[in-house]
């Protein structure tokens, strides 16, 4: 394929604005300033980028980063095809060459010697040197780099280098305000207003326990999952237990206490 048209999203991924994120995104896009989406898991980062790509009608190439990822996974490598050696572009190179949004999800998981490849793309140069082929690709005008990052697990071992962080503009994602979260739950799961409100109360209980029994409060995603379970005939309490409480903790006291507080919601 000599373009990325296969990566354009055709159906609208619904996204409910929380705090003028799209405005910031569009401003960054216009200036091609690389963007960092920061926030806890399940707070809407991926959905947001899908939505914006759809809106701008640009291809979206997503890379889920992990510890074993090497620079070749991003840039590309020679493959042996029969007796020939053929260069295959990696996802990053595709985006750079043909234009498109390259979304590096959970970039902190990758090792720092891997993430350093993006440096030349994230300053004025906008070039990607490929040492294996000797090419220096100048980024397509529609190339745009977005990364996501979960600051909750900040670690001296796994963190972005200061020099990397400072190349990006940032949008913070957090759990949305109650009414917006309610809307999102209703939209995604097609549940009722009453159930959505009750689910918000459940998430408040979990957020009260953040750091005091739970690592994190329940994400919006979990609440949506619980709502969907209810649509398939699980009771409120059971859906909350299976969709929210049990995945978050193994501590029996915490599970029992949360179950009790969920039952108290009536």
């Amino acid at each position: 394929m000599s373009d990325n048209s296969g990566f354009i999203i055709s159906n609208e991924p619904k996204y409910i604005e929380v705090d003028s994120e799209s405005k910031v995104f569009e401003a960054s896009w216009e200036n091609r300033i690389p963007l960092m989406l920061k926030g806890p898991t399940g707070s809407g980062k991926t959905r947001f980028i899908e939505h914006m790509s759809w809106k701008l009608k640009k291809p979206l190439i997503t890379v889920s980063c992990h510890e074993d990822m090497t620079a070749s996974d991003l840039v590309g490598r020679f493959l042996l095809e029969g007796t020939e050696t053929v260069w295959k572009d990696g996802p990053l190179t595709r985006a750079v060459r043909y234009g498109g949004i390259c979304y590096l999800d959970e970039i902190v998981e990758a090792r720092q010697d891997t993430t350093v490849v993006i440096h030349s793309l994230t300053d004025d140069r906008r070039i990607l040197p490929i040492e294996k082929t000797g090419e220096i690709i100048k980024a397509h005008k529609d190339f745009f780099l977005v990364i996501s990052y979960n600051p909750g697990y900040q670690s001296v071992l796994k963190d972005l280098k200061e020099s990397t962080k400072q190349r990006f503009a940032s949008i913070n994602f957090d759990y949305p305000a109650k009414d917006i979260e309610k809307e999102i739950i209703i939209l995604e799961s097609k549940t009722t207003k009453e159930i959505a409100e009750k689910l918000i109360k459940v998430s408040e209980r979990t957020r009260n326990l953040k750091g005091r029994g739970l690592h994190e409060g329940a994400s919006t995603r979990m609440l949506i999952a619980a709502a969907k379970l209810m649509k398939s005939n699980l009771s409120f309490v059971e859906a909350c237990l299976k969709g929210v409480v049990h995945p978050m903790t193994d501590d029996q006291d915490v599970i029992d206490s949360l179950e009790r507080s969920i039952r108290d919601l009536g």
Binding site: L157, N208, K210, R212, S261
Partner: protein
């Protein structure tokens, strides 16, 4: 008709008339004959008049309830008791027997009880009197086999120690009581404490400090919870509640107290109110906060309602509850206010309910309680209901005794001493817990004298020698054997919950650090690529090499990969210097270095504990060589709990720093552990000194020697120098790489855990 020698009741002239009449009423023919036979036997065996008296009365009680069958065993038990303990105890036994009859509905159960008494007489005669005296308490709480379990456990636990045995059996020992509680299946608070705390935090987002009061304390008010700010005192059990109600009563109690904490935003002033008005206003306020809670959490209604004494089951309530007393009236009022469906015929109560529910819009406002209370209080005056503040306890049982919502600090309180049943003892505790809100340094704990005579510390002076340690004399180059006495001092057990609260507030930091520690524990395998040798081929490198060959370049030979498993088997011992120098203020602040050290140690301990690593914690200071004070707060294998935190908090700075001795002591504890890596982490200002040593180099050199010894034994030593003037001594004692200076103690809570993290990697 029975043949043989005729015994007549008349021959027993000492019998009470009532007994005589009763016997003649209940006993016919054979039974009467047999009964008289028993009397004769008693007379004949010389047991004494009291025994005869006791038997004659009690046996009739037994016969009345169960018939004649149990009498044989009754007699046998009676004989044993008399023989072992004499007629007085025997008489007592008979009385107790009559009393406890009402607890048993089957003769079989009664017989087993008799047999237990016989057992008790045989196995622990010296305690029999005591047991008989508390028998109705015991019988009320448990069945016979449970009693037997408890009895035998006490015997086993005291094996031969008569004093201890008496103590246990007389319920004067906390340990004994705990077993009693456990045996009786009384739900104890301890089992539920953790869950209830988490639950309360989940519901309200607040931290509640809970203190348990043991069940021996029989003061009436201590059978209720009490609270002040965010401290709650609960009785350790609510006897009489079993099954579902027994399980939930603590949750009901704590949630009620929490409801006050949330919705009673200001204490009521006593002003000119009379006790009865205070009681009524409190009832209304109780209802108000409960209803507000129920609005947000409807399930709480189901939790609280079952405990109301006014069950609403009878139509004619006045009749159902007997004569109108304040107790019953107030119970009914309590129920009416929280349960719209409960209907009460009493005019005063109906009026209260109407007014309360008409003002639903004002439920957010606590002054409503006072207003309505005033009105109702005036009304009740005209009803001439007897109200005795001394006896008054709010109903239902899970509710608090009201001291938490009233401001008692003015002259009027004299009238309320009775209402405040038990408040005196609570006030003492309250003052201590109030202190926790003041700045740690300003609390009463550090006596004013400490400023004049810096070496005076108010810790308990009882001490036990736990070991003798040598000391190195650098001038002679020799270690002096058994030179220092390491002494173990008692902990001051009072807690202000200061440190507990601090850790709760900083739980996010603790959590983050714990995550860091966990993630550094890398026991997952790490793949190392591009290796010159290894178990597998690194395909990427292989391909690169082939490519290079095809292009005519030299291929790399690093085409293997291997997995490296980094294990982690680390044991750390934290040793904290609490000498007088930590009593200074941090520059430009009014916080003491000591506080920061304690807080930092608290945070680090919590984080390490949560990450699952084992660790030990001790503090030290010294007062010359034969008084090196060492407080072992936490053993390696213990899980960190509240008492450890309390012990840490109870430490007070003072005296000197004989570092070498403490290092040796901590080293001894570490050396016997089997972990691969052992680390002694010292928090000190790094200036060893003591008042019996003039030479400033002596103790520095000794510390250096001690540290070297530990290294020789495979123990790493690292020092966090807090507010050290210079690094000269630190680098001498610990080596260049094994110390770090924290310039200002206020940074310690943040930095200490990161230091641990770096060291533990």
């Amino acid at each position: 008709m029975h043949q043989g020698k005729i015994i007549s009741i008349k021959s027993f002239s000492n019998l009470d008339n009532s007994v005589r009449i009763k016997a003649q009423k209940f006993l016919r023919e054979k039974a009467l004959y047999d009964w008289l036979e028993y009397l004769k036997r008693i007379e004949g065996s010389g047991y004494g008049k009291l025994v005869l008296k006791g038997f004659s009365k009690t046996s009739l009680d037994i016969i009345e309830k169960f018939g004649f069958l149990p009498i044989k065993i009754f007699y046998s038990t009676l004989s044993s008791v008399t023989i072992k303990k004499g007629q007085k105890t025997s008489y007592n036994f008979c009385n107790v027997c009559s009393e406890i009859l009402e607890f048993y509905n089957s003769d079989k159960k009664f017989l087993t009880w008799l047999m237990l008494i016989e057992k008790m007489t045989n196995l622990a005669p010296e305690a029999l009197e005591i047991l008989l005296n508390e028998m109705s308490f015991l019988v009320e709480k448990m069945n016979v086999s449970q009693m037997e379990d408890w009895f035998l456990t006490c015997l086993r636990a005291s094996s031969g120690d008569m004093e201890k045995r008496i103590k246990l059996l007389s319920l004067k020992d906390n340990e004994g009581l705990e077993w009693l509680g456990q045996t009786a299946g009384i739900k104890s608070f301890k089992e539920q404490e953790n869950k209830i705390k988490i639950y309360t935090t989940a519901i309200w987002g607040m931290n509640v400090n809970i203190k348990e009061i043991p069940i021996t304390n029989t003061k009436a008010s201590i059978r209720r919870t009490a609270f002040s700010n965010n401290f709650v005192r609960v009785p350790s059990s609510y006897p009489g509640f079993t099954g579902q109600l027994g399980e939930e009563v603590f949750r009901a109690a704590i949630m009620h107290a929490a409801a006050h904490m949330k919705f009673t935003y200001k204490k009521f002033e006593i002003g000119k109110l009379k006790p009865i008005q205070v009681a009524i206003i409190s009832i209304i306020e109780d209802a108000r906060v409960e209803l507000l809670s129920i609005k947000e959490f409807p399930g709480l209604k189901e939790l609280w309602i079952p405990y109301h004494m006014a069950t609403g089951e009878s139509k004619n309530l006045n009749k159902a509850y007997g004569p109108l007393t304040s107790r019953t009236l107030f119970s009914r009022l309590s129920r009416s206010l929280v349960d719209e469906n409960y209907v009460d015929g009493n005019g005063w109560i109906t009026r209260a309910k109407d007014m309360f529910f008409k003002n639903k819009k004002r439920w957010n406002d606590q002054t409503l309680s006072r207003e309505l209370g005033n009105i109702l209080g005036n009304d009740i005056g005209q009803m001439r209901i007897q109200f005795n503040p001394k006896d008054y306890l709010p109903d239902p049982i899970y509710r608090d005794e009201n001291s938490g919502i009233w401001n008692f600090d003015n002259e009027n309180t004299k009238d309320f001493e009775e209402l405040q049943t038990g408040i005196e003892s609570y006030q003492v505790e309250k003052k201590e817990t109030d202190d926790a809100e003041k700045n740690f340094e300003n609390s009463d704990i550090i006596e004013p004298l400490a400023k004049i005579a810096p070496n005076k510390v108010s810790q308990s002076e009882e001490a036990e020698i736990i070991s003798l340690q040598p000391e190195f004399d650098y001038k002679s180059g020799r270690e002096n054997f058994n030179w220092c006495k390491i002494k173990k001092y008692n902990f001051n057990n009072k807690s202000n919950y200061y440190l507990n609260n601090y850790l709760y507030e900083n739980s996010k930091i603790v959590s983050n650090i714990k995550n860091l520690i966990e993630s550094s524990k890398i026991s997952q395998p790490i793949k190392l690529k591009k290796q010159q040798d290894g178990e597998e081929l690194d395909l990427d490198s292989c391909i690169e090499s082939i490519v290079d060959i095809k292009r005519g370049s030299t291929p790399s030979n690093k085409i293997y990969k291997k997995t490296n498993r980094k294990g982690r088997d680390l044991l750390v011992s934290i040793l904290v210097d609490i000498s007088e120098s930590t009593n200074d203020f941090i520059k430009d602040t009014n916080k003491k270095i000591f506080s920061s050290i304690i807080e930092a140690t608290g945070i680090l301990s919590e984080a390490i504990n949560k990450s699952g690593d084992d660790f030990g914690l001790a503090t030290f200071c010294s007062n010359k060589r034969d008084d090196v004070r060492y407080w072992k707060i936490k053993d390696f294998k213990d899980k960190l709990n509240k008492s450890h935190i309390n012990k840490l908090e109870s430490m007070k700075p003072g005296f000197s720093t004989r570092l070498g001795a403490a290092v040796r002591q901590a080293g001894d504890e570490l050396v016997s552990q089997t972990n691969y890596r052992k680390l002694l982490l010292i928090i000190s200002d790094g200036e060893p000194s003591d008042i019996d040593v003039d030479d400033s180099e002596y103790l520095v050199e000794d510390a250096k020697y001690a540290v070297k010894r530990l290294a020789y034994n495979g123990i790493d030593v690292f020092c966090v120098g807090v507010e050290s003037e210079s690094n000269k001594n630190l680098s001498r004692i610990f080596g260049n790489k094994n110390y770090v200076i924290i310039k200002s103690a206020s940074e310690l809570p943040k930095k200490l855990p990161l230091i641990y993290l770096t060291l533990s990697r």
